[in-house]
């Protein structure tokens, strides 16, 4: 790793530490929520955000793979999907902890809970498909095609379905009016955390791509 990258990773560590501190000590207690429960928003929203970002990275890599059949693009797509799966699991857990405190049950079949559950299902299906195709090239193609197909049907879920019916979710961030209603210190921490989590994703993503790439290279060398 270059020195420049090392510095960035250290900066990321410091940044995340500051975000964690700020989430508990800098941001004020939100009104209208039980106790300090609302602080989970500083972790839950960035996790959900990263899950969506990963989905988009996966889409871009998938489209590039379908165009050029570069094995590296397939590696990128799979790495992004792996992280997407991880972060959507985290977002689901943090979300249902909050739901337990606020609404008394871990799972309420709230539209956005359904959305993340389906995102999880899509990722799981994506990996189930990858496992069922032994040939590298075909695996890449089929997985990429499925990813694109999933991407075009997702917006219907995330945007169409929740608006048709009623949601328990706090409306402060994603709402129909398109405005953000939040206290300014809370917003600062939230944005800082989103930035931090995005950086974390970028770092993990580059590690995962490098690992898969090294594996590919070794296999090619062994194959002669």
């Amino acid at each position: 790793m270059t020195r420049w990258k090392t510095v960035l990773v250290w900066l990321l560590g410091v940044w995340m530490a500051v975000v964690c501190w700020a989430a508990f000590f800098y941001a004020p207690t939100a009104r209208g929520f039980k106790g300090e429960s609302a602080r989970i928003v500083f972790f839950h929203v960035p996790q959900a955000w990263v899950a969506v970002v990963a989905f988009c990275v996966n889409l871009v890599a998938s489209i590039r793979y379908l165009r050029g059949r570069d094995p590296l693009d397939d590696i990128r797509a799979a790495s992004a999907a792996g992280l997407g799966l991880l972060f959507s699991v985290l977002a689901t857990i943090s979300g249902s902890l909050f739901a337990k405190i606020m609404w008394g049950s871990f799972w309420n079949w709230d539209p956005r809970e359904i959305s993340i559950a389906i995102l999880l299902l899509v990722y799981a299906a994506y990996f189930a498909l990858r496992q069922a195709v032994p040939d590298d090239e075909r695996r890449g193609t089929l997985a990429a095609a499925y990813a694109v197909l999933a991407f075009v049907t997702m917006p219907f879920l995330v945007f169409v379905v929740p608006r048709i019916y009623w949601s328990l979710h706090p409306d402060t961030i994603i709402n129909t009016s398109g405005r953000i209603d939040m206290e300014s210190r809370m917003l600062q921490v939230l944005l800082g955390s989103v930035a931090g989590f995005t950086g974390l994703f970028a770092w993990l993503y580059s590690l995962s791509v490098r690992l898969a790439r090294a594996r590919l290279r070794r296999r090619q060398q062994e194959g002669g």
């Binding site: 059949r69 032994p134 040939d135 590298d136 090239e137 296999r219 090619q220 062994e222 194959g223 002669g224």
Partner: protein, 204 residues
């Protein structure tokens, strides 16, 4: 005419075909030989454009110039052990289907003539292929490859499942089409090898 240069294929870590070059042209029958697993079928699949080569190039040209990849199938007739015709349909219905799929129109009499040329009596033409013997199925398969009179023929073990008479039949069909058709035959059968004017011997 089909030219291929330094064509190779790997599946994952395994190389199944390494650096083969050659040419298919009318008037010449190219036979591809080699032990099982040497990549005969893989080579034909690459030539047909069904699978992508890991390295090397294949090009098709007709009188007017190079053919784009999506037009290859329209000049190709292919028969191979891993290709079947529709068993629920009769031989006649299969041929009608394959001409219509290629956007062609041929009269039933000409289709019946082709089936008869391949040794299928008229009373067999309207039975479902599922009721045929394996030799008869092979004949329908060959008819499917010939029905659009393609200028390029790729045949993988064309007389497998055929009796001696059937073997003779295929030999005469190929001899008839040879002057106008570029033909490649992949085989291990010494009788089929004898048809070749040129040979590519693949090693494992």
């Amino acid at each position: 005419m089909v030219t291929f240069e330094d064509v190779g294929k790997r599946f994952g870590d395994r190389s199944v075909l390494a650096g083969v070059s050659g040419q298919l042209r009318p008037g010449v029958v190219l036979v591809v030989t080699g032990p099982n697993g040497a990549g005969k079928s893989t080579l034909l699949n690459i030539l047909s454009g069904l699978i992508r080569a890991s390295r090397g190039v294949v090009s098709y040209r007709d009188g007017r110039g190079e053919l784009p990849r999506e037009r290859w199938f329209s000049v190709l007739g292919v028969a191979a052990p891993d290709m079947a015709v529709y068993e629920e349909l009769s031989a006649m219905e299969n041929l009608r289907l394959f001409t219509r799929l290629r956007g062609l129109r041929r009269s039933d009499t000409s289709l019946a003539a082709l089936l008869q040329e391949l040794g299928l009596a008229p009373r067999e033409h309207h039975r479902p292929v599922a009721t045929y013997s394996s030799g008869q199925k092979q004949r329908v398969k060959l008819a499917q490859a010939l029905v659009h009179t393609p200028p390029v023929l790729l045949l993988d073990e064309p007389s497998s499942n055929l009796d001696a008479a059937g073997h003779e039949l295929v030999a005469s069909l190929l001899a008839q089409r040879r002057p106008t058709t570029a033909i490649a035959v992949a085989t291990n059968d010494p009788r089929e090898m004898a048809w070749g004017d040129e040979e590519i011997a693949l090693a494992r």
